[in-house]
């Protein structure tokens, strides 16, 4: 994806990422990988895998592995995963296949719910959990973003007019992804999931942009109330796609949380102006 920065088009986001594949549960699962350091697994949202400047920045400190979940992108239609826990189990198997023992895990929007289920299924493997605008708890009547590229952009980004036009998605791919996510996204309030969250002790960071037009940031406090080790952060002037809208602000707090977990509340900012 091309990124505009102060009016100049700079390098493509994700340029340094290399493609790979693993097999899990009979699926051939594509992933993009870059960077060295502690493993950082990312599960994308309903629009599929899209590398952002956020990924680039994260890859400076972590070994970032961004999966393309089965049924998304160019992969064949997925009519086997029956529900979100199953999809999560498949992704857990994929991390096994990559030889990962423990890892940090981030889920975006729809992928946030997948990540929650993965952490519930295999809590001992997830060192820290990051939920970027998670779609696991939604107001009643919540609708996923749809429509023309302009309509989608308006819902996803805080300032769509500042972004370079994006390549038009393949309508067949869009249709496949929409069918899959409709089947797997589950109810707006998922009693089964919410009933289990109080037992999830993995340190969790929940982020919402203050101008999220897909999932209102007022959903954030539910996670904090339900989970015993959960921290809520608002990213000012970011929309639903936080890591696209404000990648530096996003990565700063995410990286700090991965490194220090709940101790990330202690400042280590240097405020010396001159020695």
């Amino acid at each position: 994806m091309r990124v505009l920065q102060k009016g100049l088009i700079v390098t493509q986001a994700g340029d340094a990422f290399r493609e790979g594949h693993v097999d899990a549960d009979g699926f051939r699962i594509r992933y993009m990988e870059a960077g060295q350091g502690p493993p950082f697994v990312h599960l994308h949202g309903a629009g599929g895998l899209r590398l952002t400047r956020g990924h680039d920045l994260l890859s400076r400190q972590f070994r970032v592995i961004a999966f393309e979940m089965p049924g998304f992108g160019a992969s064949p239609e997925n009519d086997r995963s029956r529900d979100m826990p199953e999809l999560a189990a498949t992704m857990a198997t994929a991390t096994d296949a990559l030889g990962l023992d423990q890892f940090n895990l981030m889920g975006t929007s729809f992928g946030g719910k997948t990540a929650l289920w993965l952490a519930l299924l295999q809590p001992d493997r997830v060192q820290a959990l990051v939920l970027e605008a998670p779609a696991a708890i939604r107001p009643h009547g919540s609708r996923p973003p749809a429509g023309s590229p302009e309509e989608m952009a308006r819902r996803l980004f805080a300032h769509p007019e500042r972004l370079a036009p994006m390549p038009l998605p393949d309508p067949a791919v869009q249709a496949r992804q929409a069918r899959l996510t409709a089947r797997l996204r589950g109810p707006d309030r998922d009693a089964d999931l919410e009933g289990r969250l109080p037992g999830l002790v993995v340190p969790t960071l929940v982020l919402f942009g203050t101008v999220d037009r897909v999932i209102p940031p007022e959903m954030g406090h539910f996670y904090k109330e339900l989970m015993p080790n959960c921290h809520l952060v608002f990213v000012y002037d970011a929309g639903h796609a936080i890591s696209t809208d404000r990648p530096e602000a996003f990565v700063e707090v995410v990286a700090d949380f991965i490194e220090r977990r709940e101790a990330f509340v202690i400042s280590r900012t240097d405020t010396v102006i001159h020695p």
Partner: protein, 359 residues
């Protein structure tokens, strides 16, 4: 010996609150909040009648126990009702404030009182670092620079700029000035060598708190030596000792109540991992000797017993450490029973206060 009553704007929660800090604001009860400020005024008027010399307020954030994130605001409210009692703001956490703003607020207050303000400047307890994101490693330096800037802002007659390490201003020209000249009686709060030296250098008082008399005495001795080196002698009134007190009719009763209290919950409990991380980062000392910071656990009770016993303890404290002002936090064992508090105040006011005036 002067006596100050430490008023905390006690909030009496109608329901059990989660123990861990920060407590979600969703749990806040408005009526209880209003009551806590009214109660503050009632208690001030009560201790004023009993003859206490000062009433003091402190700064705490995000806390359901003490509703005074800005102590100058609560002090200004008290100032509207106070007749002749002094109001001690002990103290603004200067390491995480804008020092010029602190200087302005306190100057306003000194004019409202007028002339009955006492100021203490605080580095801040360990848990407070989390409030506004203060880097613990910088706390000491920021405090020293901030205190100097506050003093300068009160006393420099011309507008000036400030090129600090942590604070930078092109223009400082505080109006109003404090009414008391050159500034209100000011104390550096803390037992550390740095506090003592700063106080000695700037002719300020020293405020110490909560530790046993022997430990306090180390700090006050160090302070007096430092003052001597700077060419002056502090009076007893230059040293404040903030302490917990549990007073009852008899010693036995007091001891029993103390036990009850020890079983009550912690003061500002933090998640274990955060507390451990802070303990590692927060370097504290008493007059140069290292000491572990208190991160949110219960503080000791320094005066316990019947009125007679307490009088003796106060005399002992004075002998050992030379303090001239005790700033007392009256303990309430177990629950938030304000009746007990008022009875304690009465007991102290009638049976202890008259006997310690000349201590």
């Amino acid at each position: 010996m002067k006596v100050s009553y430490f008023e905390t704007a006690r909030y009496r929660a109608p329901r059990q609150l989660p123990a861990q800090w920060p407590v979600p604001p969703a749990a806040y009860d408005r009526d209880a909040g209003t009551q806590s400020y009214h109660g503050m005024v009632e208690r001030m008027q009560f201790v004023e009648k009993l003859g206490f010399d000062w009433i003091s307020v402190s700064e705490h954030h995000y806390s359901p126990q003490r509703l005074t994130p800005n102590p100058v605001v609560s002090a200004a409210y008290l100032a509207g009702y106070a007749q002749n009692i002094k109001i001690a703001v002990l103290g603004p956490i200067v390491s995480q404030s804008n020092p010029v703003q602190v200087a302005e607020e306190l100057a306003m207050l000194d004019n409202m009182l007028p002339g009955r303000l006492v100021v203490g400047m605080l580095r801040g307890i360990t848990g407070e670092y989390l409030t506004y994101g203060l880097n613990p490693a910088e706390a000491r330096e920021r405090t020293s620079e901030a205190m100097e800037l506050v003093l300068k802002a009160w006393t420099e007659p011309q507008p000036f700029g400030w090129q600090g390490r942590h604070f930078r201003f092109r223009t400082v020209a505080v109006w109003p000035r404090p009414r008391q000249q050159p500034h209100p009686p000011t104390y550096a709060l803390g037992t550390s060598r740095e506090s003592c030296e700063f106080a000695a250098r700037h002719h300020l008082g020293l405020g110490v708190s909560y530790a046993p008399f022997g430990v306090i005495a180390k700090a006050t001795r160090f302070y007096r030596d430092a003052c001597a080196q700077c060419g002056w002698q502090p009076a007893p009134e230059h040293v404040i000792y903030r302490a917990n007190i549990l007073i009852s009719e008899t010693d036995t009763e007091a001891e029993a109540l103390l036990d009850e209290q020890r079983r009550a919950r912690q003061a500002f409990p933090l998640r274990a991992q955060v507390r451990d991380a802070l303990l590692e980062l927060d370097i504290r000392n008493v007059a140069g000797e290292a000491r572990t910071p208190n991160v949110g656990s219960v503080l000791p009770t320094n005066f316990v017993g019947s009125p007679d016993t307490i009088v003796e303890q106060i005399k002992c404290c004075r002998e050992q450490s030379g303090v001239g002002v005790i700033d007392l936090m009256f303990q309430i064992p177990g629950s938030a029973d304000l009746g007990f508090l008022m009875r304690s105040l009465e007991l102290f006011g009638t049976k202890v206060l008259p006997r310690i005036r000349d201590v």
